[in-house]
């Protein structure tokens, strides 16, 4: 987005992605250009704040999940160690009772 001043007059252009290329599209001039430019800046700032809020909320969720995840992994390792120590074995993804049991 660019607000250009030429010969004392304002011209506003928006950048529009067209596949690989980015095109500069003329929006308007004078007071209209200034209003469009400020509206775009406000919209962009709002979107950035929204993304920041979403990122923070995802971090909060991940922060709640992390200890449960770590504890779950520990429990998994302990269960396998106990079962294997008792002689149980895995067969095609299913745990089988120890032969001696």
């Amino acid at each position: 987005m660019t607000l250009e001043r030429r010969d004392g007059r304002l011209y506003y252009y928006r950048s529009v992605r067209d596949g690989e290329r980015v095109r500069k599209v003329y929006v308007g001039s004078g007071e209209f250009a200034r209003i469009c430019s400020e509206t775009d800046i406000l919209r962009r700032t709002g979107r950035r704040a929204q993304r920041e809020r979403e990122r923070a909320e995802l971090e909060t969720l991940k922060g709640l999940v992390a200890p449960v995840e770590e504890f779950s992994e520990a429990a998994k390792v302990l269960v396998i160690a106990h079962l294997v120590a008792r002689g149980h074995r895995k067969h095609k993804g299913e745990w089988r009772r120890a032969r001696s049991a």
Binding site: E54, L58, V65, P67, F71, S72, A74, L78, G87, A101
Partner: protein, 181 residues
Amino acid sequence: MPGALELSEDARGRLTELRALSEKAEAGDKEARKELRRLVRASSPEVIAEASDIARRTEWVLVKTISAGKPLMEDALQERTHQMRSEIAGENPTPLELLLTERVVAGWLLVEILEGLIAAQYQRDVKAHRVAPTYVIQQSRIVESATRRYLASIRELARVRKLQAGTPPVQVNTQVNVLRG
């Protein structure tokens, strides 16, 4: 309280050792199985106790988060988790069953909280502005993964109970206080 909800370096080291030995024993290494039995007897009680303790503290943090300073809600949730723990653990649970019980309770609590938080966010955000699809996808992944882990914890507990029935246990002496609030 950073670090309070994480396993100690020592416990992590023991878990790594247990995992490596389990893999070797599963592959048929008899020496590894002997060593695993020794290690399960010697070090797993402490690790189980530490993991159970972390689970309790994690549950406490989760309860605090969802109750958002409302004492009645906090009490109700603590009572609910306490009941769940007693019902699921049953009578005379082994330390391993207690650990898996904590895992089920923590998993349930986490899924409830995630769903609650996300529902609240939607109510707020959808009215105010457009929610980014990538954000919705990431949220869904977090909830889906937590739900999957919760269901797996229930299956694991049932599986352990089934396998333990009738087999002589590897004796471990771990004290985990079920009635502690």
